[in-house]
Symmetry: C2
Subunit: 454 residues, 2 copies
């Protein structure tokens, strides 16, 4: 009973704190919605820098843009953290044509994109019969038919999944390991149905990786409507395919890190970030231009409001997520080498859509209850969920190295895979208010973590 009375006695204090917090979060919201520069910065990054695959000259330009943009806002420090970047190049236009359809020599071009990290057809055009399979099970059943053929995987998104990320989880292995699984049985190339539910014909690229010791065959993603067409004809045709991908030597790149020094716990670090690299075929507007400008916007709003964090905050533009994760790996490695203490990491890498909440990965699940108590403070800004499970690829290595609790912004996910890794991921498909609201919710969460720790 004594304890209960003690708790009750504290309630007015708690109410005052909550009131102070809600006032502060409203200040962040007003500042960001009224004066936010995220949308204009995204315009610069997408239209003036453009597509920026790690290792490319455009990526070097993006780094300089990031450094100048952060310095202009005036944090305590901007660090260029060197890391080696993979340098894969597409090397030209990817081509695929259906030939000898119905033995009538009809031909039809398919809209395809080579998968990131895939090897080109060595200057030659590969022409072969196509083995159409629904999934890996069918591949295994028909493995004796694979030799010298192009294997096409039709495994697509399940439209009845309410969360498109579930569909992406179910299909991603076809992109990542489909090529080597077919090459093992003698396939000469692989085509996959694009990982999307979009009804446009844009193909969707993305990273793949070859299995050690298996022949590195070309691999492309096929636009959804062309995939439907292929699947409808099923047999009796060849495809001629030419891709040009190759790896050039690694280049030097940088994680660009702005630092706000903590006033009470300068040695305890909160990280907030997104990744600066994108695919080469689009502007990387949602993936992950949005995460980059979210990150910068939170810094800008803190400076504009004169907010002095208790903990040190790192605002990180990670150098390489799409085809190597070298940025996040270097950040964790350096933190380890410097014996840093990382208490929390937040990433935005699911687009600039209306924010719905956050997903958390805690080793100690009781901490989830603590953060869920903050839900009413963030609800007015769109957060309706603070769920178990989440984070981001770039902060994954940090969480793995330190056990740092990590968290990912969850924007509304319904439009993401229409654009993800496709040519349509451009500035025009980002809405200003939706984008700014992401930064509002991130600022609110970072503020709460900074005030109360975890």
């Amino acid at each position: 009973m004594k304890r209960l009375i003690a708790v009750i006695a504290l309630l007015p204090l708690l109410a005052i704190a909550q009131d102070r917090d809600s006032v502060m979060i409203k200040k962040f919201s007003d500042e960001i919605l009224r004066n936010g520069t995220a949308y204009d910065l995204l315009y610069q990054l997408t239209k003036q820098v453009g597509g920026r695959l790690a290792g490319s000259p455009q990526f070097a330009k993006a780094e300089l843009w990031g450094k100048a943009t952060l310095e202009h806002i005036g944090p305590d420090q901007v660090i260029m953290q060197e890391c080696m970047l993979p340098h894969w190049v597409r090397g030209g236009q990817d081509k695929a044509v259906i030939t000898e359809l119905d033995k009538k020599k009809a031909s039809r071009a398919l809209d395809v994109l080579a998968l990131g990290n895939s090897m080109g057809s060595e200057g030659k055009t590969i022409t072969a019969d196509v083995l159409m399979v629904a999934d890996f099970d069918e591949l295994e059943r028909r493995k004796d038919e694979v030799k010298d053929k192009i294997v096409y995987y039709n495994y697509g998104f399940n439209p009845t999944n309410l969360m498109p990320f579930v569909s992406y989880g179910e299909t991603g292995m076809y992109r990542r390991s489909g090529p080597s699984r077919a090459a093992k049985y003698g396939a000469v190339a692989v085509m996959i149905r694009s990982l999307t539910e979009s009804s446009a014909n844009d193909p969707h690229t993305g990273a793949m990786a070859y299995t050690e010791g298996i022949t590195k065959i070309p691999a492309v993603a096929v636009g959804p409507r062309d995939a439907d067409y292929l699947w409808s004809i099923k047999t009796g045709f060849k495809v001629s395919l030419k891709t040009n991908g190759q790896f050039l030597p690694d280049t030097i790149g940088h994680n660009v890190i702005a630092v706000l020094k903590g006033s009470e716990f300068p040695d305890e670090i909160i990280t907030i970030g997104g990744h600066l690299d994108s695919w080469d075929v689009n502007e990387g507007a949602h993936d992950d231009g949005a995460g980059i400008v979210h990150t910068i916007e939170v810094l800008r709003a803190m400076k504009a409001l004169g907010y002095k964090p208790k903990h040190t905050i790192h605002f990180v533009l990670f150098a390489n997520e799409e085809n190597g994760l070298r940025g996040g790996s270097k950040y964790a490695e350096q933190a380890k080498a410097n014996n840093e203490k990382h208490i929390f990491a937040l990433e935005s890498d699911e687009g600039g859509f209306t924010p719905r909440g956050f997903g958390f990965s805690f080793k100690d699940k009781s901490k989830l209850v603590k953060v869920q108590n903050w839900l009413p403070l963030l609800r007015p800004y769109g957060t309706d969920r603070m769920i178990d499970g989440g984070g981001g690829a770039d902060i994954g290595p940090l969480a793995a190295a330190f056990g740092t609790p990590m968290c990912g912004l969850i924007p509304d996910p319904q439009r993401y895979f229409d654009l993800h890794h496709a040519r349509s991921d451009v500035f025009e498909n980002v809405n200003k208010r939706e984008l700014l609201l992401g930064a509002v919710n991130m600022a609110g969460l970072i503020y709460l973590v900074d005030q109360y720790g975890l």
Copy 2:
């Protein structure tokens, strides 16, 4: 205590019912996400019918499309409920040009749209000095300066409002009554800042109404960027303005109503609907093509699943919301004349964006608690709120006449006023999954109301 035990004894039954309900709602979801035709029907309505202001030939075409589409699905009955429609025509291109800027005779065209129901400039071009006012307060302070001028109202959306509908509520009176308030003091025309936060220059039209006995002066909405420009120069210029709006005689139109007959309570009616009319300058994709195809999709899914409702359900394509509300008024009037019993009405008229929940208007607030108990059943489909307050313009007269509880679908609101009443409200700005999910949540709610009443 006895009552408590009775309640506890009922819990397993409650659990079984909830389980049955969640299975049924998942069936609706799977059916709609897998086989839904809402997106294709929206394509037909927007691209093949197009803009369809009440009274126009396009509206007559929309009615026929609605009738044929509903009949094809095969409800128990399709009723064409006659009602007289206003027939306002824009009558040509609306024009406004800045002249005599800085006395240098510089001129610049402004992108404007006449407000719906406004009268044209009688074939003449009106050229006059412009009185720029921030709001009605400034108009009142400067009323002596108004005579023979064009009054421009700059009152815009407040970007710090988290819900754009709040901004619309704060600014709507400038469109609706701004013209007559200025005409009272002798203004010759009115221009308003478009009711939007968009950074595109598209002007946003919408209905206005003249006050009885006050001169009916022309009135236009100005594109946001042009509005910024006007506000930046403030004084020292004239505007030449020509609009051509007029009312032609009322025409005969119809509410198009599909009926599913109730198996247990055939005399108790649930209404679900949207409005078939749109503005003339766009395709009415979100406003309210989305509500129309949501309504049709719920019917289609019920038929596809063989669902036999307990109550009679009316699926209503209301004939006229934008500039007269004649459709909803006639529906209520006819219900009154037929002595019908209306137990619930649901409208979708806030766009085809990801659904966030529902807003309810109950006279008996205890009923809100009842429907809020359903929230866990709808949460997997995106509903995160079931709030007090809401409905729809078309079902408003029914609620007023019968005290019928009414409800409005709440889609994510952040993009709505970028498109609302502007040329950009076209099919391309609707996302298929977001649209279908609206129908999923509506089907779920209608199912629950049908099963349990209110």
